[in-house]
Amino acid sequence: MSWLKRERAGIKGTKTPGVEVPEGLWTKCDGCGEALFQKVLEEHLWTCPHCGHHFRVPARTYLGLLVDEGSFSERDAGLQAGDPLGFRDARMRYPDRLKAAQQETGLKDAAVSGVATIGGKPVAITIMDFFFMGGSMGSVVGELVARSIERAIDERRALVLVSATGGARMQEGILSLMQMAKTSALLARLQDQRLPFLSILTDPSTAGVLASYASLGDVILAEPGSLVGFAGARVIRQTIGEDLPPGFQRAEFVLEKGFVDRIVPRQRMRDEVSQLLEFFWRSTRGFARDGDGSPHAFHPHPPAAGGGVQAGPGSR
């Protein structure tokens, strides 16, 4: 994985993602400063075996950690950003910035969408990628999330959204802002349909994304130490003219304040998500369209989940 090395060394976008890194390369941990071999890191799912620091990982890596092996089938992979504003900043045009990010990450935009199973339960999933323009949400990310919500409704799947983002994408201006309304409005429909939505917050989960779908999960799980907040720390410091308390806007702080349900280490994430889905699966008799007419009935033998790559849930 070239991104780790690149991040440490501060080298910008020279490596193609997916190129094998020779064994023996090491990375210094941001948490404790310990030198970690690439292979050791990988074995620990990109967390530090000494201090537990969670490294940021690309969307496809996270996908591999979360869904059942071989169950993922990508959807909407062809979506590409336009340039509705003809945006140009001090250094480059937005389309050029996109192209650079695409070359660097091998992604079309800052998220990957599809269907999969987790613990055998069918999910519609979108995972954000912080390495693509800071995981910013523009029209494509908004559309990927929107289509995942609709897919969850159409195919009776649970919705899983994994955030890794600095917020809305400035280069698409007001259209980025409107993705917040678009996704949140669709989540009202998902709620009406009694389909579970698990929101997973990784480092960082901030600003416009946190102020829309990321905060609306039926259950919100956060990775330890991840930055979770609305406004930037620098802006807050300027506004209030004081230093911020230690641990401010970290997942543990946000848990204490009551805005996430659980802090879940990466090693436990798949299991906890599976366990949560099991509860919802049983209570709805397999994410059924209409419950079964008796909302409080207990079903000792829920139907088996689809399990296959593209199989729909066996709810009917």
Partner: protein
């Protein structure tokens, strides 16, 4: 008056000259001179205000004399009764909310309220709401829906308040919940951006069936200064960022994000509060009337559709790039 913007000054000075002349001068010669000056002023006004740069619009949107939410409340409605508090934590004066009549129709009015002076802004935080402000707004919008009252929201905020307490009390959650819940309110919602539409903090009271903007208002994902400090690494490049962000009312109409632009009195809404409010009142009347017959389910479905279609992208699956 220090409240005049740089580009307003020539007009203001000419107008002052006219006033002085009018006060002193008499006779035909003076009248001719007055007429000439007034023609000059008119031409100057037209030239300046027809060719405003985006950043000049930003300045007008933030003009300290611009009518604020409560000014529109005073001019557009009657019987205003303000209601307070989110029922959980406190009352946030950065958002005002209450009942009023628009003609004979009871409506719920929600607005971000800036302060006129330093003391008032200490209280209202320049219209930047805390979570309890957004929760008060939602509480009262839901009350309105229960009693079949249309909702009018007036947007005028630099953004949600970036404070320690705001974060502790869930600023992001408060905004997110408003976005989701406004999407399913079963009564008509009309939003007017009257000044600054600052990002998520504005959107949190602006998920509506009809969204209108005053001619010199702005609506943006980030302030031009904030954008400039990130993408230009220089907060003083705000004018460049303002241009790039396409944040004027005309831009937003072109991008099909808003449904209409309301003209302001020449020189801007601050030149004539009553005239600006009259335009707003008329628009509210018209749009609420148009929405009043729509069945609840259709209203909610249409509102969802309004936002569902927003976004610009290509689908490579359909036409490979």
């Amino acid at each position: 008056m220090s409240a005049w913007l740089d580009f307003e000054k020539p007009v203001f000075e000419l107008e002052q000259k006219i006033e002085e002349l009018r006060a002193q001068a008499q006779g035909r010669e003076a009248a001719a001179q007055l007429g000439e000056l007034e023609r000059q002023a008119e031409t100057l006004r037209r030239e300046i205000y027809a060719n405003l740069t985006p950043y000049q619009r930003v300045q007008l949107a933030r003009h300290p004399k611009r009518p604020y939410a409560l000014d529109y409340v005073e001019h557009c409605f009657h019987g205003w009764l303000e209601l307070h508090g989110d029922r959980h934590f406190g009352d946030d004066p950065a958002i005002v909310a209450g009942l009023a009549f628009l003609d004979e129709r009871p409506v719920m009015v929600i607005g971000q309220q800036k302060g006129r002076d330093t003391k008032e802004n200490l209280l209202r935080r320049f219209g930047m709401a805390n979570p309890e402000g957004y929760r008060k707004a939602l509480r009262l919008m839901q009350t309105a829906a229960r009693f079949r009252m249309p909702i009018v929201t007036l947007v005028d905020t630099p953004g949600a308040y970036p404070g320690l307490g705001a974060e502790e009390r869930g600023q992001a959650e408060a905004i997110a919940v408003n976005l989701r819940e406004m999407a399913r309110l079963t009564v008509p919602i009309v939003t007017v951006v009257i000044g600054e539409g600052g990002s998520g903090g504005a959107l949190a009271i602006a998920v509506a069936d009809t969204v209108l903007m005053l001619e010199n208002s702005i609506y943006s994902v980030i302030s031009p200064e904030g954008c400039a400090s990130i993408l230009w690494r220089d907060g003083k490049k705000g004018p460049l960022a303002a241009e790039a962000l396409k944040l004027t009312a005309a831009d937003l109409e072109r991008l099909e994000i808003v449904d209409g632009v309301l003209p302001e009195p020449i020189g801007g809404a601050h030149r004539d509060h009553a005239a600006a409010a009259a335009t707003v009142r008329q628009a509210l009347r018209r749009h609420l009337e148009a929405l009043s017959g729509v069945p609840e389910e259709e209203l909610v479905a249409r509102r969802l559709q309004r936002y569902r279609r927003m976004g610009v992208f290509r689908d490579g699956a359909e036409s490979p790039a």
